[in-house]
Subunit: 471 residues, 2 copies
């Protein structure tokens, strides 16, 4: 028997026992983010298995003014999928909506449900000799619905775009419990407002994505990477123009790693080493891919890097000959992330500016941080080809992690203000969630925040979807 | 002296004589569309020269509840820039906002005002050794602001995307007369709702675009086209997969021309000829481009077409060796458009379906049209790589143009219903404007139309922007 306020009991009656989790132990992993920075509580975790069940859940919550927190793989970095602390909300996990509904190689598209793990979407495409290019560190855990709701970026944006550019259609449950089937698979459709675009990146505040039609691409038959050593960020940026002008159609990644970030990774992560005989100011990891098998890309890449060496744009370069060696270069890139995760307190910024402004941004931010807290380790790296820098800071040797964390808000304000002065974004990939909402109020034009509030009201007048996030 | 209701006089006082046109002769070209299908009237044509002046004009009209019709190059096909017939509105032409504000080759971006002619934007990019890839028939007349407001397509969508994909930032005058400077030049920005995306393709109903930051690409150093003869649409679609799988990164256009459309062009447009010794069921015009100079693309293209010939996917092919011959192939494509313009009454449909569904769509629509009005000349052609077919019809020999036009609404309904059954779009490139608004009410889900109305109210509560268009 269930009482009027026994929400988990009512949910069990309506959705089945499999769909409801309310035992504290089992709920725990849905109630905090993977980094352990945000913790919330909830009346229950609800795991519907169909879009209709999601719609019923939304109506159930709407009738009772219960807040809903949509959750995918829970790998976000801004607390966007963590419920509030008051225990009033329901976490709606999409994990059971996990079917690939169809794959259409001739149309270069597939339809996947929101709870499909990103790596499974990649595999389904690969089995049909197609590429789904979205790729990021969490791909073994994150879900495609969450990728879309947060407009995920990753390492292939330069060539294939953000998640936004990979979505052809959506199936969405709206705040009134309507299922809107907008699962189109057309490349061109000018029949009204781009509402789909508004939902992409809306972090679960305007509707709940239950499935998506996704774009596929020809599967590369060859892939080649190079690590180039340069004096600094100016040369890295110059190399970008050179590579794009000569062999731009093949470039899928163009990653910048500051010398300091690499040094720190070598220091902290066992087995990390650089394939050069001396350290350099900065490094670029670029990857090319092509649909054709012949001629090999290596020759063209070597020619461009040879020109760059002669022109003093780069100091050294390696093009690994084996797949194992190519993947070792990416391990170096991953070691940077790892070193900043385990190497002590880290104050992270995920910013973007115009590509041409990256050198000036890095100089201006470096000067300002050094002035504010001398000795801070400045360890920038990121997707230079997108102008997207992970501008991360670690403590000066003389102070403790805790003391350093105390400087976080003021250091972040310094970095974001400089980003704003270059017309940049203070959250290039990661979104607003809980972490950056106040920063949006501070840095976005009031007119834009006002339009966001009006849009939120138009889509969710009762305010039940992901309260306290984004707007 | 100007009276209270002398709107042109008041506008002259506020904006200067250069900014106001109210002589009937001079107004005429702003009051009807270029095809002469829509005619309206207006109190005046206002031509502000700055974003602030546009904002002042919007406030002026808002205070008086005067409707505003934003107008670019006036090359649209759906009456979206033509005022109503009652003479109550003001046409706001962006033609004097025509400066390229900046070009940044290292960032692969430029900033152009809304009234810049598309061809001028292309030239500004080319002078900086960069490509602005948007390209369409009207490029010598249409304006970039109009391209953005209608999310224009064109011949390079397959490789570079729709206009939506080429816009980094916008400067917009909102319905309350605020200038919203969102002229960012960043590739990645996840700091809230994608309002910019909503404005792109909103046909002047949500705000007035006054400037845009646009993406540029490496300038191709070689370009090569091929014309392939195939038995029909099935083979054309099979060739698309083959080409994409082998040399997909180079393909900028993949155009389908039905044998009937080509035959009609040869019949109507003097000097049009096919480079084959016999007619075929259909033709594909594909174009490749690459940033690198060497090796030439011809060898790879020949290899793929050779495979297609051996596999009976194509019957014949030519790869022109000179630029003149390449451009002759495009003249053939243009002759199709021309023949349908001058060859008599034509009922046009700009539709899209998934690429893999194009053959079935063409068969189903052909059967239904033949059943409804036997002998109708069915002359489809279009951007097969985007699933976008211009499914155009001309009269059977036995009836008059006027009689044929009378069948227009019922034939269009047949075509659009079949498009809908394939999950397609009844306006792939051209938008809704006045022409397709009722069709949107008929074919879009009610929930989507309702969301559009709510969005319109959120952005333009007074309803002054482009009344009676889109929503």
């Amino acid at each position: 028997m269930t009482g009027r306020n026994d929400i988990p009991g009512l949910l069990r009656q309506l959705f089945g026992a499999d769909a409801v989790i309310d035992a504290p132990d089992a709920m725990a992993r849905y109630l905090c983010d993977w980094r352990g920075l945000y913790r919330g509580s909830a009346q229950a975790i609800l795991r519907p298995a169909t879009a209709d069940a999601v719609a019923a859940a939304v109506r159930f919550c709407g009738d009772r003014s219960i807040g809903i927190v949509p959750q995918g793989g829970n790998t976000g970095l801004v607390g966007g999928a963590t419920p509030a602390g008051d225990g009033s909300e329901i976490v709606l996990s999409l994990e059971r909506l996990n079917r690939i509904r169809s794959v259409d190689p001739a149309d270069f598209s597939l339809v996947a449900e929101a709870g499909c793990i990103l790596a499974e979407v990649q595999s389904a495409a690969a089995r049909a000799n197609r590429l789904f290019p979205l790729s990021l560190g969490a791909e073994g855990t994150c879900q495609i619905g969450g990728n879309i709701a947060t407009n995920a970026g990753g390492i292939n944006v330069l060539r294939y775009g953000n998640t936004r550019d990979l979505v052809l259609g959506l199936e969405i449950v709206l705040a009134d419990g309507t299922v809107w089937n907008d699962l189109r698979r057309v490349r061109k459709d000018n029949t009204g407002y781009a509402i789909r675009q508004l939902l992409i990146g809306s972090e679960g505040t305007l509707g709940i994505i239950t499935a998506a039609a996704l774009r596929l691409f020809p599967q590369p038959r060859q892939r080649i990477a190079a690590l180039a050593a340069v004096d600094g960020i100016d040369q890295a940026t110059a190399l970008f123009s050179l590579v794009m002008e000569q062999i731009g159609e093949f470039v899928s990644s163009f990653e910048y790693m500051s010398g300091a970030a690499v040094e720190f990774a070598v220091e902290i992560v066992p087995g990390t080493r650089l394939p050069f005989d001396r350290p350099h100011g900065a490094y670029v990891l670029a990857e090319l891919a092509a649909a054709f098998e012949e001629p090999p890309l290596a020759a063209a890449f070597e020619r461009v890097l040879g020109d760059a060496l002669e022109g003093n744009v780069i100091r050294d370069a390696v093009i690994p000959e084996s797949e194992a060696k190519r993947s070792a270069l990416w391990q170096l890139r991953e070691a940077i992330v790892e070193s900043q995760r385990v190497g002590g307190a880290s104050i992270k910024h995920d910013v973007s500016v115009p590509v041409s402004a990256v050198p000036d941004f890095i100089r201006a931010a470096g000067d300002a941080i050094e002035a504010a807290l001398p000795g801070t380790r400045i360890l920038p790296f990121g997707h230079l080809g997108d102008g997207n820098i992970h501008y991360n800071l670690m403590r000066p040797p003389r102070i403790s992690d805790d003391e350093f964390r105390g400087h976080g808000p003021s250091l972040t304000r310094i970095v974001h203000d400089i980003v704003a002065s270059f017309g940049g974004s203070f959250s290039a990939e990661h979104g607003l969630g809980q972490l950056r909402r106040a920063e949006a109020d501070r840095l976005k034009p009031p007119v834009e925040r006002e339009l966001m509030r009006r849009i939120k009201s138009a889509f969710d007048p009762g305010g039940i979807l992901n309260r306290g996030k984004l707007v």
